[in-house]
């Protein structure tokens, strides 16, 4: 049973690891590069995967933050993430997982409605972030935000835990989300 669990390994010293899961290789690579360029006190590690489960024979560090990247231009991207979600332990969704939807700006290319992703994130009680990974500025800003979330999830920020961040983010959601 190759399910990804958040607390099955010991943490590394001052290291924070994020796992980006998404079918679109080029976008993941760009996001990873942007994240590593951010000014971060912790040592960042970025793992990229097309889908879960991960190959089991590899020695890898504990995953502190799980980001599911969905390209709204590709239904395949959404399907790939939906399949991967089955291989994630439920405790990840207590603040250590989030969804990232890219490409909403170019509506004529979108084959996945943004509400689909919003509903998916709502089902998993996790935040959803929107950006355009193909645009440098948007990507850099998102990278910084993710780096900060990663630090919190890894426990490197005193006084803020992943769970408290989750509840902070949740309160900013509009009430109409419950109707979805």
């Amino acid at each position: 049973m190759s399910v990804l669990r958040p607390l099955d390994k010991l943490p590394g010293l001052n290291t924070a690891t994020v796992l980006l899961v998404g079918a679109d290789d080029a976008l993941l690579q760009q996001l990873a590069d942007s994240m590593l360029k951010t000014d971060c006190a912790s040592e960042l590690r970025v793992h990229l995967a097309r889908s879960l489960p991960l190959p089991s024979n590899v020695n890898r560090p504990r995953v502190d933050l799980l980001v599911f990247v969905i390209n709204l231009h590709s239904k395949y991207s959404l399907q790939s993430v939906e399949k991967s979600l089955h291989h994630v332990d439920a405790s990840f969704f207590l603040g250590k997982a989030c969804f990232l939807a890219t490409g909403a700006g170019r509506e004529n290319l979108c084959s996945v409605h943004r509400n689909t992703v919003v509903r998916l994130a709502h089902t998993y009680r996790s935040p959803v972030l929107f950006c355009d990974l193909e645009v440098e500025g948007s990507r850099a800003a998102m990278a910084q935000r993710l780096a900060r979330m990663l630090q919190i999830s890894a426990g490197h920020v005193p006084g803020v835990s992943a769970m408290s961040l989750l509840s902070l983010l949740r309160s900013s959601e509009s009430p109409s989300l419950e109707d979805l």
Partner: protein, 343 residues
């Protein structure tokens, strides 16, 4: 005349097809006009060969004359082209009094033909010509799309008769790039350019060792990526793909559907492996209710370079590898317009 020369000439004559006999003998320019006129082309080839040998003996043919006959036979194709051209032009001119036909010889035994169409009563329209490229060593011709559709059967007939074939078949293969059409039809697209660059395959495989990649980035699915690359390479090869802009699939679903009041939606699934298409209709059924004619669906893919785009789908993470054979069979089957009946 030597026995061996006589035999050689006899055998050479036997190799010539009857339809070309006169052309070859005239081109040979050894037998005189009067001599050629005495030949009866309606007799059997053996007897004709004997008559020719007798005529050659009258003129004391030498070995070099016989060798020249041999060369003329090899050069048969040159005369084929001229005959083709005149025959083609005659057929069109007989059918439509007003038609302009021009030829240009190109490399690789290609004949470029330009046809400006008129009718019995109107002059040819020089602004809407049809272009045809005929490769005389092959049974293939390429034509530009003609806006004057009524002339296409005549064009086909002229090509068939002039090139001495029995029938003409229209291939479901269209593109704006003649070179790509040629590559597909003559099966020349899968030729690998031999570039000796031993470092190239290493760079593709060693994903983590790329100097541009930060060592803090780890690719978890390297094995899977390699598999996708391998499958893509097996399907599409290493070579540049021929250039097409469209692939079109016409589907017919012949099954009859009945609506039940409880289920307002009907779902039709065409070729599950290819595209899942769902048709929803309202409570009364709409176009799907109690349908007698088959349901038709047209799917068109367009791209500046369709095959390269398809090749990049799986590596880019937009589709699963291997792709549907309906997409990958395009160059090997030589068609990009498909009609599929779904039973």
């Amino acid at each position: 005349m030597d026995e061996t020369i006589a035999e050689f000439i006899r055998r050479t004559i036997l190799k010539i097809p009857m339809s070309e006999m006169m052309t070859v003998l005239e081109a040979w320019n050894f037998l005189s006009e009067s001599q050629l006129q005495t030949l009866n082309l309606r007799q059997r080839k053996d007897s004709l060969a004997q008559s020719v040998v007798l005529l050659c003996e009258e003129k004391c043919a030498s070995l070099s004359d016989a060798a020249l006959l041999d060369i003329v036979c090899e050069d048969l194709d040159l005369f084929d082209i001229e005959q083709f051209k005149s025959s083609f032009k005659k057929i069109l001119q007989r059918a439509l009094r007003n038609v302009t036909v021009s030829f240009r010889d190109a490399e690789e035994n290609a004949v470029w033909i330009r046809i400006a169409w008129g009718t019995q009563y109107t002059k040819p329209n020089q602004y809407k010509p049809t272009y045809v490229v005929y490769y005389s060593h092959t049974p293939y011709a390429f034509t530009s799309s003609s806006r004057l559709k009524s002339n296409i059967p005549l064009l086909g007939q002229a090509l068939t008769v002039a090139s001495k074939h029995h029938q003409i078949v229209k291939m479901d293969l269209r593109s704006r790039y003649l070179d790509s059409l040629k590559a597909i039809v003559f099966k020349q697209y899968n030729q690998n350019f031999e570039i000796h660059n031993p470092t190239a395959p290493l760079q593709e495989r060693s994903v983590g060792l790329d100097i541009n990649t930060d060592s803090r980035i780890i690719h978890e699915n390297a094995v899977e990526k390699d598999k996708v690359q391998r499958i893509t390479q097996e399907t599409f090869g290493d070579y540049p793909q021929p250039r097409l802009e469209f692939a079109q699939y016409k589907f017919w679903k012949a099954a009859m559907l009945t609506t039940t009041p409880q289920t307002p939606t009907q779902s039709l699934q065409f070729h599950n492996r290819f595209l899942e298409t769902k048709f929803k209709s309202d409570l009364n059924g709409g176009i799907l209710a109690d349908r007698e004619e088959p349901l038709r669906c047209l799917i068109k893919f367009s791209s500046p370079h369709l095959l390269e785009a398809l090749k990049s789908l799986a590596p880019a993470g937009i589709a699963d590898a291997p792709l549907s054979p309906l997409l990958t069979c395009i160059p090997s089957r030589g068609m990009n317009y498909f009609k599929i009946r779904d039973k």
